[in-house]
């Protein structure tokens, strides 16, 4: 027999030609099978049972086996197999439990030969013996396998799996008597055809059903199985215990698996749900398919290699009612699309770089990385056999270390921790962040923050301006006069509608910068001033200096205390300004007026003690004007690698800038920043950023797994309700052991006796005591 098949090989491989082609079937296919000489294919399904001839250019329908006006359920096929020795012999498994054989040599239209209705449930699989002409095996949903001798009217033996439904049966290609059966409960059994009383061995191959199995055509001991758990596993059956030697993780449940002829390590799979592609895997490289066929529009239900010794033709049938012949050379090679180089920065600025070795050696110019001072090349993976189709998969991995000082990331961590992103008025946030940056010796960033404050804090000017316009504020006016340096006073002379209280900083950084825009923005201040006009009129003249514009709008009545509070902030913040401005000299082009500024800042402090709340910053331009500049600036920072700055500014500016930057970019920035933060284990900051972001894709990041399960400390039952009271024992769940009140904040407890309470209380308690405040006698240790 083996000789014969070898003869066919020689014949076959020389004679098979063709191209990638397809034809429409009338109905979804459930299974396909080819005849021995690879010239015809049979397609079977619920409503189809046809034989097609494989011609050079197309499929040609040869025969419709589905005859009769109202075909019986015996034609409704779950599986079909063409005998590999006897070219007129076919067998089908019917969904109603019948096993039918067909003889194409029959002269009548109805080719049905034998009908076995021994199975009680759907038959999932039929399998001819590879060399025996009359031996047929079937596996059914009812949990039985039956072996038929086609010369007899009924089965010769019945094998009971003693477990659930049989999904696949396959005769071994090499062991005459052996067959494998796979089951719905995840087991695979090996049987000797002569011993129907019990299986030879059994092992659990998958969790959930094993949909398919296939013996390796050449290697005696290899069995591939595919299951609902999305795995393909290759088992070595020669040892005492079946050993898993390869495992491929696919993306959907595996419906069929077929070894590729003549290629020891290749197998083809298709899936049962969701995924419509056919993959050919090299089992030694389980991460990415070797080749993919993507033609089908619905799940592929049957795959078969056209000839048992030709690896270049694959036939497939699908639920989308098409039959395809795939040429291997037309397959998509996912690996070609995969990036052959990998690059990754380490946390501390180190760089790892993996690349296909051939690329490195051929291209000498690519290896030096500017910042690198050392290199460790090593080889991760090397194939011994260069004749294999993707033999040369060896990569070099290089690691470049940066020198320690230049790439310290301390600033990043500090900045992340110290930046304020919300919770205060805009100007204060900017000031704060500017200070942070300055203290970390990042003058440019610091300046940027200051500039941002100036650019976008115009509503603050509203009140002052309107007041002066109303003319009812002598005190105010005098303030501004004193406060302002000569430069801004000059500005102020430009026109009556000009904002009065110009701070020096704006003068410095912007006026010099944007002189020509000043005129344009003058008018645009109008709306702002009227917006606050009403509130102003109602109020005492001395108070309208509240600069948080939200509070102005919502709380028309001011009282002194909050104002005083504001003042303090002022004092703290202001001194920072000159310092950083001086630093700016180094990098900033806007040096003019520095002296003036420094000179006039002292008065601000002193005067603000009396009544001025905010440094009366006055942008001369409408905020929108700056948006393009800011956008460029942010992109610049992001591109330079300081995504931290980009995101922080984005958050602090909020609505002011968000519309200017497209969502994808924002999302990208956020993701990068969050990723960095998390790598530095700055969980709190990262969560704050997530919370403050406005991209829906980002905010949902902290929506997963948000449930925290707690037990009541009294009754030790899970707390199911909200609030502080356990609904089972009606006691406060987290009472402080010192004051016996509920702890609604930081709760500290002893790891030994699990008593605890308010952090402060416990700290105080432990100053004088060493025993547990709950009186349990435990010597508590809090560190």
């Amino acid at each position: 027999m083996e000789k014969m098949s070898r003869v066919t090989t020689a014949l076959g491989s020389s004679s098979i030609t063709g191209r990638t082609m397809f034809c429409h079937l009338d109905a979804p296919a459930n299974a396909i099978s080819v005849c021995r000489d690879a010239a015809q294919v049979v397609v079977a399904g619920r409503n189809i049972f046809k034989i097609y001839a494989l011609e050079e250019e197309q499929f040609v329908e040869k025969l419709n086996l589905r005859v009769g006006r109202k075909p019986s359920l015996n034609f409704s096929c779950a599986d079909v197999m063409w005998h590999q020795m006897e070219e007129n012999l076919l067998a089908t498994a019917a969904t109603n439990g019948a096993v039918v054989t067909w003889n194409l040599g029959k002269p009548s239209r109805n080719k049905q030969d034998q009908l076995f209705t021994e199975h009680k449930r759907t038959v999932n699989k039929v399998c001819f013996h590879p060399t025996e002409a009359y031996m047929l095996l079937s596996g059914s949903q009812d949990g039985f396998m039956k072996c038929f001798d086609l010369r007899k009217k009924e089965s010769v033996s019945t094998f009971s799996g003693q477990s659930e439904s049989v999904r696949d049966v396959q005769f071994s290609m090499k062991d005459y008597f052996t067959f494998a059966a796979s089951f719905e409960n995840g087991n695979v059994q090996l049987w000797d055809i002569r011993r129907p009383d019990r299986y030879e061995r059994m092992f659990t191959a998958h969790t959930g059903p094993v949909f398919c199995c296939d013996w390796h055509p050449d290697d005696r001991g290899w069995l591939a199985t595919g299951g609902r758990d999305k795995m393909v596993k290759v088992w070595d059956m020669t040892t005492n215990r079946a050993k898993e030697i390869y495992c491929v993780q696919t993306i959907a449940s595996v419906a069929r698996v077929k070894w590729r002829p003549e290629k020891k390590f290749h197998l083809a799979t298709c899936s049962m749900m969701v995924d419509h592609n056919i993959y050919v895997w090299d089992i030694r490289r389980p991460f990415i398919p070797f080749a993919t066929f993507e033609e089908h529009k619905d799940v592929t239900t049957g795959i078969v290699w056209r000839h048992q010794h030709d690896p270049h033709y694959l036939l497939s049938g699908s639920k989308d009612s098409t039959l395809y012949q795939h040429m291997f050379k037309d397959a998509t090679r996912p690996v070609d699309k995969a990036n052959p180089e990998g690059l990754c920065f380490g946390l501390m600025g180190d760089l790892a770089f993996a690349v296909n070795e051939s690329l490195v050696s051929s291209d000498g110019g690519r290896k030096p990385y500017p910042g690198g001072d050392r290199r460790y090349p090593f080889f991760s993976f090397k194939k011994p056999n260069p004749t294999e189709q993707f033999a040369h998969v060896s990569s070099a991995l290089s690691v470049f270390e940066t020198d320690l000082d230049s790439s310290r990331m301390d600033w990043f961590v500090k900045t992340a921790q110290l930046y304020l992103l919300s919770g205060k008025p805009f100007t204060e946030l900017c000031d704060h962040n500017a200070t942070v940056a300055r203290e970390l010796k990042r003058p440019q960033v610091s300046t940027t923050w200051t500039m941002l404050r100036i650019m976008f804090s115009d509503p603050a000017l509203g009140p002052n301006h309107s007041l002066s316009k109303l003319g009812g504020l002598p005190l105010m006016n005098s303030f501004s006069m004193k406060e302002m340096g000569p430069e801004s006073r000059l500005e102020r002379c430009k026109g009556e509608s000009r904002q009065d209280n110009i701070h020096l900083e704006p003068g410095n950084s912007h006026i010099s910068n944007n002189n020509e825009e000043n005129e344009e923005t003058e008018g645009s201040d109008g709306p702002t001033e009227y917006m606050f006009g009403d509130a102003e009129l109602d109020d005492d003249d001395l108070y309208p200096l509240e600069h948080d514009n939200q509070t102005v709008a919502e709380e028309p009545v001011y009282t002194l205390p909050p104002e005083a509070f504001q003042l303090r902030h002022e004092i703290i913040d202001n001194p920072s300004v000159p310092e950083h401005l001086q630093q700016d000299k180094a990098d900033s082009p806007h040096v003019s007026g520095n002296e003036a500024e420094v000179a006039c800042l002292t008065p601000i402090e002193s005067f603000s003690l009396i009544s001025i709340s905010q440094p009366l910053y006055s942008p001369h331009l409408h905020a929108n004007f700056f948006c393009p500049i800011v956008r460029e600036m942010l992109s610049h920072y992001a591109e330079r690698g300081d995504v931290q700055m980009a995101v922080s500014v984005l958050i602090v500016l909020g609505e002011k800038i968000r519309k200017e930057i497209d969502d994808l970019t924002q999302e990208h920035w956020y993701m990068s920043y969050i990723d960095l933060l998390q790598r530095f284990e700055l969980w709190n900051v990262s969560n704050e950023v997530i919370k403050l972001s406005t991209c829906s894709a980002i905010t949902c990041l902290n929506q997963t797994s948000t449930t925290l399960h707690i037990n009541c400390s009294n009754c030790k039952r899970p707390m199911s309700n909200k609030g502080w009271i356990c609904d089972r024992c009606r006691q406060c769940a987290s009472a402080c052991a010192v004051c016996h009140h509920v702890v609604k904040g930081l709760f500290v407890w002893c790891q030994g006796c699990s008593h605890g309470g308010h952090l402060e209380h416990i700290m105080n308690w432990l100053k004088n005591n060493s025993h547990c405040p709950a009186g349990c006698g435990h010597l508590c240790e809090y560190t």
Binding site: L73, T122, P209, V274, S720, C729
Partner: protein
């Protein structure tokens, strides 16, 4: 701080008896200012009763009775010192606690309270089920481990659990799936999950399930006003209405479009696939559970509306709550019941032997399927309007089950079980969208279809496979799902007409199940076997509804 929030909490948890509760806690206010533990003398000890530590429990029980006795001493005047809440707790404990000592003590306490002149509530129902005599359930039930476990972890054992406890292996699987659906991490917030269930239960007018989930909904922090009517719920939840309606009554009408409307990019409000599948499973689960509740005639819980009364029932008139299943006494004399069982046994054996020999044509098979499907089973008794509580939660209450294909009409295409099955397709989809849930459901289906005790009525050692299969496939047949490899002739042979009436009523119009339909079938069988039948119907119904929806979702993703 704590003392001020405690009463409001009790109020919240027991939304249904507001007026009384308010006055109750109000009148006790004068006492509770001094120590907060006296607000409700029992609740804390009640929780401790659920302790896993035996001694702790004993101590709790001791303390509980002391407290209550103390209250009685103090308040000879008989004021509402013992709040209604406490009394109902006691009542519930006395009736349903699986720990015997607790049960006895609670009963004693109630007796004492009554002697002291306090109006004591009594349960209207004589057991968990109106169909099954309490002693059947309690004898087999109450002391089981699974019930004790349920009591210890949930703090109560409800009627549903008690009846299911007739089949402990199923119950433990059921409790797991309940927990996975309602408690574990998932795409929907917890209050929403319960609200979806409330919506689903309302479709079947099942006030038992509505009340159970309403309570849980409030405990999960849900907005009370939503329960006042579906119009108060967010639009996103309301958009489930169509799917809910179809799932409950005619799942075969669910199409790709229905899914698309909820999920597609433009849909507002938009459901994610994971949320949708969670909601679908919740709804299907609740619908089938309603079938079970009606099919077993579950009585309202002692603390449900209609589950208790404060006035002793007059001997002549036993008050019947409109919320509980009808109580017409359907028991008939056991005429030739034994003979029926014999006949059934014989038929099953015959079926198993004959199957190979008897060969029938394709047409014959189709006809048999059609016959079963379209056989007119009168499921007539139309009940009065459902209670207001439920009705306000239903839109389009007139949309009911209609036969899959009434005779003489063009039927929608039947679903072939081989083309879309739970094992091959449904599971993978659920598992992909809602990890682990597929596993839980898979387990449930397996347990319910493999459950057997190898006995039937008075016979032991019977292989009931064919009978169970017939039931399962009959339900699927009613829902238009056909198995190529099943001979529907055997449904006719094995399922007597009265059983069909019951099964069809329960699966398709569960709210019309009556005691007489329950008692009419399998007259010689044990009640536990009837409950088993109920479980099969419930599982089959759940799977059928899920299959149709999942198939539509598959078509949508494609």
């Amino acid at each position: 701080m704590a003392s001020s929030s405690a009463p409001s909490f009790t109020f919240q948890a027991n939304g249904e008896d507001n007026p009384r509760q308010v006055s109750g806690s109000g009148s006790s206010c004068r006492h509770l200012s001094d120590s907060e533990s006296e607000i409700c003398p029992t609740t804390k000890s009640l929780a401790r009763l659920c302790s896993r530590d035996k001694d702790e429990r004993a101590a709790a029980l001791e303390k509980l009775s002391q407290k209550i006795l103390e209250c009685l001493e103090l308040d000879r005047a008989g004021s509402a010192r013992l709040s209604k809440q406490t009394l109902l707790h006691l009542l519930r404990l006395s009736r349903s606690c699986p720990l015997q000592e607790v049960r006895i003590r609670a009963t004693e306490l109630l007796c004492i309270a009554q002697e002291e002149g306090i109006e004591v509530p009594r349960a209207l129902a004589s057991g968990p089920s109106a169909f099954i005599p309490a002693k059947e359930i309690l004898i087999e039930g109450l002391n089981q481990d699974v019930l004790i476990e349920s009591f210890l972890s949930l703090g109560r054992v409800d009627h549903l659990t008690m009846v299911m406890a007739l089949h402990p292996s199923y119950l433990s699987c059921f409790l797991r799936i309940q927990q996975a659906l309602f408690e574990l991490d998932g795409p929907l917030p917890r209050d929403w999950r319960h609200y979806v269930s409330v919506m689903a239960a309302a479709r079947h007018h099942c006030s038992y399930m509505v009340q159970q989930h309403s309570k849980a909904f409030l405990e999960a922090g849900g907005e009370e006003s939503w329960l006042g009517g579906i119009k108060h719920a967010p639009v996103k939840l309301r958009s489930l209405h169509t799917l809910n309606k179809l799932l409950a009554h005619r799942p075969w009408l669910i199409t790709q479009q229905h899914i698309q409307e909820l999920v597609c990019a433009g849909a507002e409000p938009r459901w994610s696939l994971a949320e949708l599948i969670h909601a679908v499973i919740l709804m299907a689960h609740t619908h089938s559970l309603c079938s079970f509740v009606w099919g077993c005639g579950l009585n309202p819980e002692p603390d449900h509306i209609g589950g208790y009364a404060f006035h002793p029932p007059s001997p002549s008139h036993i008050p019947r709550s409109p919320y509980s299943p009808a109580h017409e006494d359907g028991r008939q004399e056991l005429v030739d019941g034994a003979v029926e069982v014999e006949v059934l046994m014989k038929r099953m054996v015959e079926l198993q032997q004959q199957q190979e020999e008897e060969e029938c044509t394709q047409e014959e098979m189709v006809t048999r399927f059609e016959r079963e499907r379209s056989e007119s089973i009168p499921t007539a008794v139309v009940r009065g309007a459902p209670p207001e509580l439920v009705l306000c939660l239903v839109e389009e209450p007139e949309f009911r089950y209609e036969d899959f294909a009434p005779r003489g009409e063009q039927s929608p295409p039947i679903m072939r079980a081989q083309d879309y099955s739970w094992e091959d397709h449904g599971f993978s989809l659920v598992q992909r969208l809602l990890p682990d849930m597929g596993q839980f459901l898979d387990e449930e289906f397996q347990v319910v279809s493999n459950l057997t005790y190898n006995r039937m009525a008075m016979h032991e050692d019977v292989d009931t496979y064919t009978l169970r299969k017939a039931l399962w496939n009959y339900i699927h047949c009613l829902y238009g799902i056909r198995y190529d490899d099943y001979d529907y002739g055997s449904v006719n042979v094995l399922l007597e007409r009265s059983l069909k009436v019951f099964v069809k009523t329960m699966a398709c119009h569960p709210e019309q199940t009556t005691a007489s339909t329950y008692h009419a079938f399998w007259r010689h069988f044990r009640h536990s076997e009837k409950v088993h039948a109920n479980l099969i119907v419930m599982g089959a119904r759940l799977q059928a509804a899920l299959l149709y929806t999942l198939r539509s979702i598959t078509a949508y993703i494609k």
